[in-house]
C-alpha cells in the first residue's frame, strides 16, 4: 500500500487590507503542491491575492465540550463594554 497525501488547511486573503480567512482543505504531497492545488481549487475566479497553507495536523483546536469554562466567564464581565459606564447625555463623542 502506498502512502496517502496529508491534509492541508487553506487560508486565503481576498484582497490586501483583509486578513487571511479559512477557505477549506485539500490533500497534497508537500507545501508547494498544497499551494498550487489551493490556487486551482479555491481561486479560480480571482478570490485571492495571497494563500497560506498549513498541514492540518499542526492545528490545535479547542474542544467544544469545554466551551463553558472557556467562554462563559466573559459573559458576566459587562464592565468590559462601553455601555456599562454612565455618562451624561450632553457629552458627545465618547
Amino acid at each position: 500500500m502506498s502512502k496517502n497525501w496529508p491534509l492541508w488547511e487553506i487560508f486565503v486573503r481576498s484582497k490586501n487590507g483583509l486578513e487571511h480567512r479559512h477557505f477549506g482543505s485539500l490533500h497534497a504531497a508537500d507545501a508547494e503542491m498544497a499551494l498550487e492545488n489551493a490556487r486551482d481549487v479555491y481561486t479560480r475566479r480571482n478570490e485571492g491575492v495571497s494563500i497560506w497553507v498549513v498541514e492540518s495536523k499542526y492545528i490545535t483546536a479547542s474542544n467544544p465540550e469545554h466551551n463553558g469554562e472557556l467562554f462563559e466567564p466573559a459573559q458576566d464581565k459587562v464592565y468590559r463594554h462601553p455601555t456599562f459606564y454612565d455618562i451624561p447625555d450632553e457629552i458627545k463623542h465618547m
Binding site: 502506498s2 502512502k3 496517502n4 497525501w5 491534509l7 477549506g24 482543505s25 485539500l26 490533500h27 504531497a29 508537500d30 503542491m33 486551482d40 481549487v41 479560480r44 475566479r45 483546536a61 474542544n63 467544544p64 465540550e65
Partner: protein
C-alpha cells in the same frame, strides 16, 4: 454514556438546529446525523466527480475555441465541487481513501443522471441547461443546511453553478436557431435528457424514505415533488422561447394551480439505472477506477519526492 444522557444530548442537539444554529465538526452529534451526512455529502461529491466524465467526452470536439474554454472551465469547476465536498465530508471522521473505496466498489452511489451517454454536441447544451439547472434547484436550499462545512461548501458550489447553466442554454439556443439539422439535434438532446432530469429530484414524496428526517436536519427544505414542480415550471418557458418542445404530451398549464401538470415518470427506468443497469454505469465506473489506478504511480512519486526534500532540508540544517 448512559441512555438518558444521550437522550438529553439529542434533545439539546435538535433544539440547536431548530434555532438555526450550525453544527460544526467537533460538536457532539447523534451517530445517525453523522452517518446520514457522510452518505449524502459523499454521494454529492461522487456525483461531481463522475459528472465530469460525460462532458469530458466532448472537450476535444467542441465546435469552437469559445465553446471549448467554457466547457473546460465548467468541467474543472465540477472537479472543484467534488473536492470541496470531499473535504467537508472528511470533517465527519471518514478518510478520503475510504470515500474513494466506497465509490470504486459500488458501495456508494452517485447521481444516476451521469449513467446516460453523451452522443452529440447538443448533449453539452442539454446537460448544462437541464442537469445543472436541476442541480441548482436541489442545491440552493443546502446553502442553509445545518452542518457548517457542508453549508459553506454549498455556498461556493452554488456561486459557480449559474455559469454552467447559462453556457448550456446558450448552446441549445444557438443550435435551435441554426440549420434544420442543428435544431433537430437540439430537440433530440432535449428528448433524451428531459425525463432523466426530472428523475434527479428523486422518488415521489410518497416513496421517499428519508424526507421527514432530512427536513428536520435542514438537509432538505422542500420535498422532491415540490422541487420537481419548480424545475418544470421554470424550464418549460425557457424551451418555448427557443422553439423547442418538451417531450411530454401530457404537459399542460393548470390555471388553477398556476403550475404545469405533467405526465407519468417512468420509475422502473429510474430504479433500473440506480441498481446499475443504466446505459453507462459500467463504463463510468471503469473510467473512474482506471483513472485512479493509473494515477497511483504519480501519487507515489509525489510523496517520495516530498520525503526526499524533507530529508535533504533537515540534513542541510545540521
Amino acid at each position: 454514556m448512559s441512555e438518558e444522557k444521550i437522550k438529553s444530548l439529542e434533545k439539546q442537539f435538535e433544539d440547536r438546529i431548530l434555532r438555526d444554529e450550525k453544527i460544526e465538526p467537533k460538536d457532539w452529534m447523534p451517530e445517525k446525523y453523522r452517518q446520514t451526512h457522510i452518505r449524502q455529502i459523499s454521494q454529492h461529491a461522487h456525483s461531481e466527480i463522475v459528472g465530469m466524465l460525460p462532458e469530458g467526452n466532448w472537450i476535444t470536439r467542441a465546435p469552437s475555441l469559445r465553446r471549448k474554454v467554457a466547457l473546460l472551465a465548467k468541467v474543472q469547476d465540477e472537479a472543484g465541487h467534488g473536492l470541496y465536498l470531499y473535504s467537508a465530508c472528511e470533517t465527519l471522521g471518514i478518510s478520503r481513501e475510504e470515500l474513494y473505496e466506497q465509490l470504486h466498489t459500488g458501495k456508494a452511489k452517485y447521481s444516476s443522471i451521469f449513467n446516460y451517454p453523451t452522443i452529440t454536441w447538443a448533449d453539452m447544451g442539454a446537460i448544462g441547461w437541464l442537469v445543472d439547472g436541476a442541480a441548482i434547484i436541489n442545491q440552493v436550499p443546502l446553502c442553509n443546511t445545518s452542518y457548517g462545512p457542508y453549508a459553506r461548501a454549498m455556498v461556493r458550489v452554488c456561486k459557480e453553478e449559474s455559469f454552467h447553466q447559462r453556457q448550456g442554454y446558450e448552446i441549445m439556443m444557438t443550435l435551435a436557431k441554426g440549420t434544420p439539422e442543428q435544431k433537430d439535434m437540439a430537440q433530440d438532446a432535449l428528448n433524451r435528457w428531459w425525463w432523466p432530469s426530472l428523475m434527479m429530484f428523486g422518488p415521489t414524496d410518497a416513496e421517499s424514505v428519508h424526507t421527514a428526517q432530512s427536513m428536520k436536519w435542514k438537509l432538505k427544505r422542500k420535498t422532491n415533488d415540490e422541487l420537481r414542480q419548480q424545475f418544470i415550471d421554470q424550464t418549460v418557458p425557457q424551451a418555448e422561447l427557443i422553439g423547442l418542445t418538451i417531450p411530454d404530451p401530457d404537459l399542460k398549464w393548470n390555471e388553477e394551480r398556476q403550475s404545469y401538470d405533467f405526465g407519468e415518470i417512468d420509475w422502473d427506468e429510474f430504479w433500473q439505472v440506480v441498481k446499475g443497469h443504466g446505459p453507462m454505469n459500467k463504463e463510468r465506473m471503469n473510467a473512474r477506477v482506471s483513472a485512479w489506478e493509473n494515477g497511483a504511480w504519480v501519487r507515489d512519486a509525489a510523496i517520495a519526492y516530498a520525503e526526499k526534500q524533507k530529508e535533504y532540508k533537515s540534513k542541510q540544517a545540521i
